[in-house]
């Protein structure tokens, strides 16, 4: 068994080497496929971080009546955090709000003057709520519409922002869906092209396959070297596509960051290097193996 395995591996490597040009063609196709799939993956990362960035910019503020005790607000906050839809809740006390207001308007003498003439703080305490995704604000607003909150809440600025939020949420949804569809189509395309290239290499060997069968080789013995060849294609292609991707990202990532602040693909690439590498090798091996396996089937019936 071990001898057989060694023979099959040796034969696979040998025919890989002796069919150099065919191997080169197959490897370039497989690496192109891997490259395309990885790039699409990275674009997806980019889109996601873009969407997260956008969503990070929206929030709703809930203002409480001036006489609401702080415990009540904190209690509300505690309840709010329990919701799945809520990503973060920031409490801004009346004092804090005043301080922020003063900081912001310190150059405006008229405003500062009129503020001083008041004997109490006119600003209300507020909770700034961020949802996981833009479409969830509706739910959060409903939470506040429950009876017990009606009394302490002065207003929610959701209604003012509603139009913007819904539009944003529909845009992000469309981007996600379109991205996914494009990704799937391109991935399928890459797989089909690779499959056909490998089928071509096996087609060119159909005579040999017949000879092997006539000499008394079992299907296993005929098939395995081709699968070994497929695996070699996959591994080499993965390494090549990584070698292309690395300098490309190094060059492009800063430019992308300039357009879309908050995204750094190169950093993502570096931190996930091993995962990506193994993913690429896995894609390569899977592509090579499955294509060889399927393509050789019809020639085995001698």
């Amino acid at each position: 068994m071990l001898t057989n395995l060694m023979r099959v591996i040796k034969s696979g490597c040998l025919s890989f080497w002796r069919n150099k040009w065919l191997s080169v063609a197959a490897i370039s196709m497989v690496s192109l496929a891997i490259f395309a799939i990885t790039s699409l993956l990275l674009v997806n990362v980019l889109i996601n971080s873009l969407i997260t960035n956008l969503e990070d910019k929206i929030d709703i503020s809930v203002y409480f009546h001036l006489d609401t005790p702080e415990e009540d607000i904190l209690e509300t906050r505690k309840e709010l955090v329990k919701l799945d839809e809520v990503r973060s809740v920031e409490y801004i006390s009346a004092k804090e709000a005043l301080k922020r207001f003063e900081d912001k308007h310190q150059d405006n003498q008229v405003l500062m003057q009129s503020l001083k003439e008041l004997d109490s703080n006119p600003l209300e305490a507020a909770l700034n709520v961020k949802a996981q995704t833009a479409s969830q604000y509706e739910t959060i607003v409903k939470f506040f519409n429950q009876g017990k909150y009606q009394e302490i809440i002065d207003k929610i600025n959701y209604l003012e922002n509603k139009a913007v939020i819904t539009r944003l949420s529909s845009i992000t949804k469309t981007i996600r869906q379109t991205g996914l569809i494009i990704l799937i189509i391109l991935a399928i395309l890459a797989v089909v092209v690779t499959f056909n290239t490998i089928r071509l290499t096996i087609y060119s060997a159909r005579k040999e396959i017949k000879i092997m069968k006539l000499v008394g080789a079992s299907n296993w013995f005929v098939r395995s070297p081709f699968i070994i060849e497929g695996i070699i294609y996959g591994i080499i292609a993965a390494v090549i596509s990584l070698l292309i991707l690395h300098p490309l990202l190094w060059y492009l990532a800063p430019k992308i960051t300039a357009y879309l602040p908050g995204t750094d693909l190169y950093y993502f690439f570096q931190t996930n290097f091993l995962t990506l590498f193994f993913l690429q090798i896995a894609i390569g091996i899977a592509l090579g193996t499955i294509s060889s396996w399927v393509a050789i089937r019809r020639y085995l019936e001698v």
Binding site: T3, N4, R7, S11, L14, S15, R18, N19, K207, E208, K210, I211, M212, K213, L214, V215, G216, A217, S218, F221, V302
Partner: protein, 226 residues
């Protein structure tokens, strides 16, 4: 012992390759199967190596019905037979040595066996110096000798040669035929399909002549007369 019992092979109603064939080929016999192209020689051989199944009748090898062999066991049957083809059918990306070794590898023979037998086989066909040449670098006669060495690698009981000299000139033709005779004398049944009159007349062994899918003559020391 090989026995064809009431064999017919019909591809379509107007293409009857073999009809009502009854033959017995004994062990260690040297049999020539002759006839024009299309007479059914190749079909007869394809039935024997079970590349095809008969439409009617049975082929026996020592009372085993060959058509009953499971696909899974087919490789084992093929290893009982050595095949030599008109177009050599060598693996183009393997050297002469590797072509012969391959036949032994598929039979799960040990590396020691291979290292011992292949040089011997190459010596038998007189190609020891050409061991590392690829088929492209060999002449027609040399290629056919490699093919014969490969066919013998399993130490088969039967050697089937389907027009082995069809692509060769006169000198190489007799080289091959003499080799086949030598192999037969070493104890292997040889079945030679050919349409070459000179070979058959020169052999003076049993000749079976096919025409339009039927046996029209079967005699010892026969001559090729149509």
């Amino acid at each position: 012992m090989i026995k064809f019992k009431q064999i017919s092979k019909i591809y379509s109603s107007d293409c009857r390759a073999l009809e009502d064939i009854n033959l017995i080929i004994n062990e260690k016999e040297f049999v020539s199967v002759a006839g024009r192209s299309g007479a059914g020689k190749s079909t007869l051989i394809r039935l024997l190596i079970r590349e095809e199944l008969p439409t009617q009748g049975q082929v026996f090898w020592h009372n085993h019905d060959i058509s009953q062999i499971q696909d899974r066991d087919l490789p084992f049957w093929r290893r009982q037979i050595g095949m030599v083809f008109q177009d050599f059918q060598l693996l183009p990306y393997k050297t002469a040595y590797e072509n012969i070794a391959f036949a032994m590898e598929v039979g799960a023979r040990t590396n020691q066996d291979i290292e011992r037998d292949v040089p011997q086989l190459l010596k038998l066909v007189n190609l020891s110096e050409r061991a590392d040449h690829f088929p492209d670098q060999l002449s027609g006669g040399e290629k056919q000798r490699v093919a014969i060495a490969r066919a013998l690698a399993h130490r088969p009981k039967i050697l089937i040669a389907d027009e082995p000299t069809g692509n060769l000139d006169g000198l190489h033709t007799w080289e091959i035929i003499r080799l086949l005779i030598k192999i037969n004398e070493l104890g292997t049944t040889v079945i030679l399909a050919t349409h070459d009159r000179e070979i058959i007349n020169g052999l003076e062994r049993r000749v079976i002549i096919l025409e339009k899918g039927r046996v029209i003559r079967d005699e010892e020391g026969g001559r090729y007369i149509l």
